[in-house]
């Protein structure tokens, strides 16, 4: 290639795309096979390097895409090919997938590095250092699966990653599988992991059905083929597209924790904090948003589906935000916040504001990862403090120290931590403000874009989202006041300690990104919009260009500030401790009880779905299959009838009285004869000889007489 050509066409690194999967797999294998002999540093280093290399590849792809907007598809191998069904292992590089790769690789690497420090302490506190290696193996597996998800060139390959990340989520939620979140022996974490996987499977069921309808409608599940034929199919059979998109929504609801399948995400906080940050905030849960954005050519054809998606997103955003207000666990608040923010994104992509949704996805990845990691830093700091405090008391109340179950994540145990952990405090403030949507942090720009789009596209959703945004600012304010300000409410918080640099440096990087992330898509410039549009150009998809709306921006900023002020009134002036009710409870009464108890949705699911299924399964297994079918029908009816026929009918009546009467008579007479004949067999040789001799004499006599 000539130099000039390179200059004009730019470098082309598309062939590197499969390496985004290979690098983490290599890292995973190295750690699994040799990890036992390597130290913690090496294991963490290898895993982080593997993750870092994927980021490098993603950056190279980004560079290539700047000149080759159309992207490329890298074919690795044929996968399944039966008749019309042609599925390949093919990697799709375009602006949309590369955005995801950058987020996954970038945030993933930072979290890997952070985890070296975090897991070092975590495995020490929980008394199982051998588990360090497994954590990083799982983390690399996750990166690989997530990369498959975002780079897949067909729906089925996307589904491979889709379930793969679900598996990693399961493994990592259940990382401390023998305890609960308070490190007490229990199956709670394992149950949470199982819950996550099965809830996701319900979503995957929708995905699979969507895939099957798609195949029989389009005879393909490859993106380009499907999207190109979508118009044609929609004209003849719009119901098919509607069905596909709605079933796909079920998948989205599972993976991205939307109503009605969001229930797994709060429980997923049982996993170590880096996992919560990486999987359950920044990357995996956004897969649903990515899926809708990827399927934009389908969704734009069916406004009904779009409406439903948007409503689901908006409702989730508000619903989860209300629950977040009533939570006391620092990570649980963030978890509901994540659900709420995912609702924002889903609502955005549902309305057709794909760029806004993706933009919020990116900025959210920054500040939510930051928040989770800082929360982890806080928890570890409090834990260290608890450790110190316990050692201080070592002499006087030894027994008490061991019996007390201390929850380092309960915000009611904290307070005044800003003095003990200043660095964590500052980055947390940045993350919170970004999430609350305060100018000029990243969250402001992206959330505002969504709200502006909503105002023009779907007013109901706008109302839902605006109220949700108000709640967002409120619960973040509540959290910050409770955790960082006021006086320490527990001696552990009093003695909390700042985290080591291996943890704080990634925090600072993420804080910087949370501040500057908005620059990606400033109003007027629209860098990110143009960038994403390249992907949709091919399908002649005309995206709705949301204009910056100053009214919306001001309204939401005022709302946010109002909410923060309100939270200061309630929580900033007076500390809330474990034994006294939340100040909000006095005002809201039963409504707050509902928020505290997550509106009893889990209980509802147990009552309506899980318990009936378990009862039905037990009934089927025990009564129908075993007692009725196995024991009664087979053993009693079939075998019993046979035995009755053979024993009673044939044997006792027919055989014993009829045939046996005759046969036994014969047998008995034979027996008697034999008994008599037996006497002749004396066993004496002489006796036998006598018989012979008798024979001789008799025969001779006979001959004479003849």
């Amino acid at each position: 290639m000539l130099l000039s050509e390179i200059a004009t066409s730019g470098p082309d690194f598309f062939y590197l795309a499969p390496w985004v999967v290979f690098f983490p797999v290599i890292g995973l294998l190295i750690n699994m096979i040799f990890g036992g002999r390597l130290g913690e540093k090496a294991v963490g280093g290898i895993a982080s390097t593997a993750s870092g290399l994927t980021f490098v590849v993603a950056v190279l792809l980004l560079i290539s895409l700047r000149t080759h907007h159309e992207g490329a598809t890298v074919l690795l191998a044929e996968w399944i090919s039966i008749g019309e069904l042609q599925l390949d292992w093919a990697f799709r590089v375009d602006t949309l997938s590369t955005t995801m790769m950058l987020v996954v690789g970038g945030v993933g690497t930072l979290i890997h590095i952070y985890a070296i420090g975090y897991m070092h302490e975590d495995v020490r506190y929980k008394n199982d250092p051998g588990r360090f290696r497994r954590f990083f193996a799982f983390l690399n597996l996750f990166i690989a699966a997530m990369m498959i998800l975002v780079t897949g060139d067909n729906y089925l390959m996307l589904f491979v990653g889709w379930e793969g990340v679900g598996l990693c989520s399961f493994l990592l939620i259940g990382f401390w599988y023998e305890m609960d979140t308070l490190a007490q022996a229990s199956t709670a974490n394992a149950m949470a992991a199982k819950k996550a996987f099965i809830t996701n499977r319900v979503g995957d069921f929708g995905f699979l059905i969507a895939g099957m309808i798609m195949f029989w409608a389009f005879k393909s599940v490859q993106f380009d083929t499907v999207f190109e034929a979508a118009h044609h199919v929609a004209e003849h059979n719009p119901g098919v597209i509607l069905a596909i998109t709605l079933f796909m929504l079920l998948g989205v609801a599972g993976k991205s924790a939307q109503i009605p399948l969001y229930v797994w995400l709060p429980d997923a906080m049982a996993g170590p904090t880096p996992v919560s940050a990486l999987i359950h905030a920044a990357t995996m849960v956004t897969a649903g948003v990515y899926l809708v954005a990827r399927s934009a050519p389908l969704y734009t054809l069916v406004p009904q589906a779009q409406f439903i998606v948007a409503i689901v997103g908006g409702a989730t955003a508000l619903f989860a935000a209300t629950i977040a207000v009533g939570q006391y666990d620092i990570k649980r608040v963030l978890a509901y916040s994540t659900i709420s923010q995912l609702g924002f994104m889903v609502a955005a992509v549902g309305m057709g504001a794909f760029v806004a949704g993706m933009f919020h996805l990116v900025t959210h990845a920054f500040f939510k990862a930051l928040l989770f990691l800082s929360a982890g830093s806080v928890i570890l700091g409090v834990e260290r403090g608890h450790h110190h405090a316990a050692h201080g008391h070592h002499h006087d109340d030894h027994a008490h120290e061991h019996n007390e179950v201390f929850d380092p994540g309960d915000m009611r145990n904290m307070g005044g931590i800003r003095k003990r952990m200043p660095l964590t405090f500052w980055v947390y403030i940045i993350g919170s403000l970004a999430l609350a949507g305060i100018f000029p942090l990243a969250g402001f720009w992206s959330k505002d874009e969504i709200l502006a789009e909503a105002l023009s596209l779907n007013f109901t959703v706008y109302i839902l989202l605006a109220v949700a945004a108000f709640f967002t600012a409120f619960y973040m304010g509540r959290q910050v006041w409770m955790v960082f300000f006021g006086e320490p409410k527990h001696e552990a918080a009093e003695q909390a300690e700042e985290s080591p640099p291996v943890m704080t440096v990634p925090l600072m990087v993420l804080a910087a990104l949370s501040i500057l992330g908005g620059a990606l898509n400033l109003p007027g410039l629209g860098t990110f919009t143009h960038w994403i549009e390249h992907t949709y150009e091919k399908f002649h998809l005309h995206l709705h260009h949301g204009e910056f709306n100053i009214t919306v921006a001001i309204t939401s900023t005022v709302l946010a500030l109002l909410a923060i002020g309100l939270s200061w009134v309630l929580y900033g002036r007076k500390a809330v401790t474990q034994d006294q009710p939340d100040p909000l409870k006095r005002i809201l009464g039963p409504v707050f009880v509902g928020m505290e108890n997550k509106w009893w949705v889990d209980e509802l699911y147990w009552a309506v779905i899980l318990n009936p299924y378990i009862a039905l399964a037990r009934f089927t297994a025990d009564v129908i299959d075993w007692r009725f079918w196995h024991d009664w029908f087979h053993d009693k009816v079939i075998a019993g009838t046979f035995q009755w026929v053979s024993r009673t009918l044939l044997d006792r009546w027919f055989d014993q009285r009829g045939i046996d009467g005759f046969a036994n008579g014969l047998a008995d007479s034979t027996k008697e004869l034999a008994q008599w004949l037996r006497g002749i067999q004396t066993g004496f040789v002489r006796n036998y000889a006598l018989s012979v001799f008798i024979g001789v004499v008799v025969i001779l006599g006979y001959l004479i007489l003849q």
Binding site: T682, F684, R686, N687, L690, F693, I694, V696, V697, L700, G701, I704
Partner: protein
């Protein structure tokens, strides 16, 4: 009464008497000696009937070799006397005697009343029953049976050795 008849009666009485002696003597050694006497008288009968070679064989093989073997075994086992420990078959003995007499009666009846007298009309040719004449028949007409007999003897010999060999149980290996 011809001298021939006298000789016959005399010898026959000895044969029958020695047979009965064998039958009824308590001591097995006596039985064996009675049997030897019996064999020798029979050998004399062979001579009278023109079987010189057979007579000699009878004395040498039967009265000599076989009976010596008997005596040898009797003495080896110390089984000269057998205690009478109640007859297990009480009716065997009378029945056997009756049957034995019956058999003799039947045979004699056949011989003397049905078949008619068997009389040797001619004189024997020269050398009848001599070793050379017996030998020539034996090695011409009866060569194969003769050879088979040798195998029989060999087998009997081996059999006897194996049967009497002391089994060395649990020794060695």
């Amino acid at each position: 009464m011809t001298p021939e008849l006298i000789t016959f009666i005399l010898l026959a009485s000895i044969a029958v008497a020695s047979g009965l002696g064998m039958l009824f003597s308590r001591n097995a050694v006596y039985s064996a000696i009675y049997l030897i006497i019996n064999f020798i008288t029979v050998a004399v009968f062979y001579l009278l009937l023109g079987g010189a070679f057979i007579a000699v064989s009878q004395v040498a093989v039967y009265a000599g070799a076989i009976m010596v073997l008997f005596l040898f075994v009797i003495m080896l086992l110390g089984a000269e006397k057998l205690g009478r420990s109640g007859d297990t078959l009480p009716w065997q003995r009378p029945l056997a005697i009756i049957l034995g007499l019956g058999l003799v009666a039947e045979t004699l009846y056949i011989l003397f009343f049905q078949a008619g007298e068997l009389v040797a009309l001619k004189d024997l040719p020269e050398g009848f029953g001599s070793p050379s004449s017996v030998g020539s028949v034996l090695f011409q007409e009866y060569l194969l049976p003769f050879e088979v007999t040798s195998i029989l003897l060999l087998v009997a010999m081996i059999g006897a050795i194996i049967l009497t060999r002391q089994e060395k149980k649990n020794a060695g290996r």
